[in-house]
Symmetry: C2
Subunit: 348 residues, 2 copies
C-alpha cells in the first residue's frame, strides 16, 4: 500500500510490530517506540557510546542493485561496526527514515526487517526513531547506543610508536562486490560463480566485527582500533592523526581473498588497489603493543582471532608509507578514499 | 567555499571548531566528535532517554523562507522539546546532515551554529554526528540523549480519568507565523507590525519548555505529558491512546495570543482553528490529578508556571470531545493534524 494512504501513526504501529524488543534486553528498556523518547537503564559502571550514520539513496545505496531489506541490513551493520571500532557492546538503535512518495508500506517494513535482522544478530534493540517524508531520495539515519567499561574502550588515539598494525578478515572484497553488482548485465569478462557469490555476499551482507573487537578490548591486547569504512589507507590515516604518529604498511602482507585475487585478475586490475582503497569492508584495523604481539599471534594461531599483521606505527614525521610488493619503501601518495562530501559509495 | 572542494574530514574539523564542548559538561564527556563513537559517562541512578528527529528540506523547512542558522536552531528545539515532553534533562546531541552539492561550507557552519545556539541554551553538548552527500534536498537528523530519575519521567501513558488537562503558553502562533513567512510578499491584508513580529518569532525561534517540564516532573504534579509538535488535537489523541482514555477539550479556554487573535481576524479565520490544529508550537500538554490541581494553580497564580487548564480526561468510550464557544459538547471530528507521511510542515 503506498504511503500516501497511511498516516505516520499507522506506519509507526506497523513498525512496532516489525521490531519487537528482544526478551533478553527487555529488563533494561523502560519505554521503547511510541513515546516522545525511548527510556533505557544504563548498566552501572559503564560508559555510554553513541554513533550516528546518515545514509542516502544514490550516494550510499541504490535500489537498482539492492533490495530494501539488504539496504536496511547494510545500514545497520555500518552503524554497529562503529561500536566494534570502539570495543563496545551495541545495545540500542534509533532509526530515522525519510521516505519518498513512491515508497510502499511493504518497502518500509522490508527496510526495517533488514535493520532488525542485523540488530538482532548483535543483540541490539530498536528502541525508537522517526519517520518523515522526502521529496526526493530515501534517507536512513541510524543512531547506535552502546556500552563499555571505560578502561576497555578502544579509541583511535591509543596507538604508540612501534605498535604492530593488524587487520581482521580480508580487504577489498566489498568494493569488488559492489562493482560486480553494478556491472552485472554488462560485464563481459568471465568469473567463477563461487568468486562472484563470495564477493557479492561480502558487499551485501557484511559483518560487524563485534566479537573480535570485544575480545581485543577485554583482554587489553589492542592499543587503538578503527573499523574500515573508508578503506584501509583512509582509515589508517585517522589512527595516525589521532595518535600523532606515522605508519608503514607492508603491501605484501595485505590479506586478499582468493575470490578478490581471481576477480582482479579477470578485470586486469591490481587486487592491492582494492585492498588499499576499497571501503565498506567493516573489518577492524587495530594496533598491538610489541610486548603483546605474541599473545595476539597465539590467538590467531589457535583460530580464535582471524587477523593479519600488516605493518607498524612509526614517528609522525615519517608520515604514511608503504612497502611495495618488490620491497621498496615509499610514501603513500594517494589521499586514498578520503571521500569528498559530494561523492561516496562504490567508486566508478 | 562549495563543499566539493572540501573533504568530509576537513568539514568535520571545521565543525569541531564551530561546536566546542561546554565546560560544565566536559567532565561527563570522555570523547566527543572525532572517533567512531562519542563516549559519555551516564549519571548514576538515572535512566537514559533517547529521541531522533529527521527533518527534510521542502517538507519541514524551506531555505526560501528561513536561513541555515534558523533551520538549525528550529531543528534542535524540535528535538530538545522531546526531552521536555518526558520531563528529562537533555545532555548530548548527535547531528547527521546530508548535504546537496549546492551547499557551501559556510551554510553548513551556519546550520551547525543554529543547532549549537539552541543546544547551548539547553546545556546540551553536540558530541558526534555524520556528514553525508545528498543528491537532492538537505536533511538534518538529530538525536538527543537526556537523563532523568526514573520516578520523575513523564510518559504519555500516565494520565488517569478525571485528570485536568493543561497547556503551557499559547497555541497556534507557530502556524500563523509560518503562513506569514510564506505569504510575505503577496499578502494584501493589513496586520500590526507587532503581531507580525511576534508570530514570526514564535515560528522561527520557538522554545523547548524544559524548565516547565522539569518543574512538573520533579514536583510530581503532572501524571503525563507530551510536547505539541503535531498540534493540540493530534497530540492529545496520543495521550488518550497511550493512557486508554478519552478527553474533553473546552475550546473557550484555549490560550490564544493577542497577536494570533489579531492575525486571524485580519485573515477572516477562526483563531481556534490555529490553536486546535496548528503544529510546532513546542508547548507542553500535560495532565494533573485532581488532588494536585490546587498546587498547579498556585504555581500559575504566583507566576512560576505559565499554563492554562483546557479540559479533562474522560473514559475511553467517550472519545475525544470538544466544548464549543457556545457551550455545546460534541465529538472532535477532525482527524486533526495527523499528518500523512507524504506531507508535513506548514499547511497551505
Amino acid at each position: 500500500m503506498p504511503l500516501r494512504f497511511i498516516t505516520e501513526f499507522e506506519l509507526i504501529r506497523r513498525l512496532q510490530q516489525t521490531i519487537p524488543i528482544l526478551p533478553r534486553l527487555a529488563s533494561s528498556i523502560h519505554t521503547g517506540i511510541g513515546d516522545d523518547a525511548a527510556i533505557v537503564k544504563p548498566r552501572p559502571g559503564h560508559v555510554l557510546l553513541a554513533s550516528t550514520d546518515l545514509l542516502a539513496e544514490l550516494v550510499h545505496f541504490d535500489f537498482a542493485y539492492m533490495t530494501y531489506r539488504q539496504v536496511g541490513y547494510r545500514a545497520a551493520v555500518a552503524n554497529l561496526s562503529d561500536m566494534a571500532a570502539m570495543g563496545a557492546t551495541p545495545r540500542y538503535a534509533l532509526v530515522g527514515i525519510a521516505l519518498p512518495p513512491k515508497t510502499t508500506a511493504s518497502d518500509v517494513q522490508n527496510l526495517y526487517g533488514g535493520i532488525r535482522e542485523a540488530c538482532t544478530m548483535a543483540d541490539t534493540a530498536v528502541i525508537g526513531g522517526d519517520t518523515s517524508a522526502s521529496r526526493g531520495a530515501l534517507f536512513v539515519c541510524l543512531t547506535i547506543l552502546g556500552e563499555a567499561q571505560a578502561r576497555h574502550v578502544l579509541t583511535r588515539s591509543g596507538a604508540r610508536r612501534g605498535d604492530v598494525l593488524y587487520v581482521t578478515g580480508s580487504l577489498g572484497d566489498s568494493r569488488a562486490g559492489c562493482e560486480i553488482l553494478r556491472r552485472r548485465k554488462t560485464d563481459p569478462r568471465p568469473m567463477l560463480a563461487r568468486d562472484r557469490a563470495y564477493l557479492l555476499k561480502r558487499h551485501i551482507r557484511p559483518t560487524a566485527r563485534l566479537a573480535e573487537s570485544q575480545k581485543l578490548a577485554h583482554t587489553g591486547l589492542a592499543s587503538s582500533a578503527i573499523d574500515l569504512s573508508d578503506g584501509l589507507a583512509g582509515d589508517l590515516r585517522h589512527i595516525c592523526e589521532a595518535s600523532s604518529l606515522g605508519a608503514v604498511l607492508d603491501l605484501r602482507r595485505l590479506p586478499v581473498s582468493r575470490s578478490l585475487a581471481g576477480y582482479a585478475r579477470a578485470q586486469r586490475r591490481d587486487p592491492l588497489e582494492y585492498a588499499l582503497i576499497g571501503g565498506e569492508d567493516y573489518e577492524l584495523l587495530f594496533t598491538v603493543p610489541m610486548k603483546k604481539v605474541s599473545q595476539v599471534e597465539a590467538l590467531i594461531h589457535r583460530g580464535q582471532l582471524c587477523a593479519t599483521s600488516i605493518g607498524r606505527m612509526t614517528a609522525a614525521h615519517e608520515g604514511l608509507r608503504i612497502i611495495s610488493p618488490s620491497g621498496i619503501t615509499s610514501p603513500l601518495r594517494t589521499r586514498s578514499y578520503e571521500h569528498h562530501v559530494r561523492a561516496n559509495g562504490c567508486p566508478p
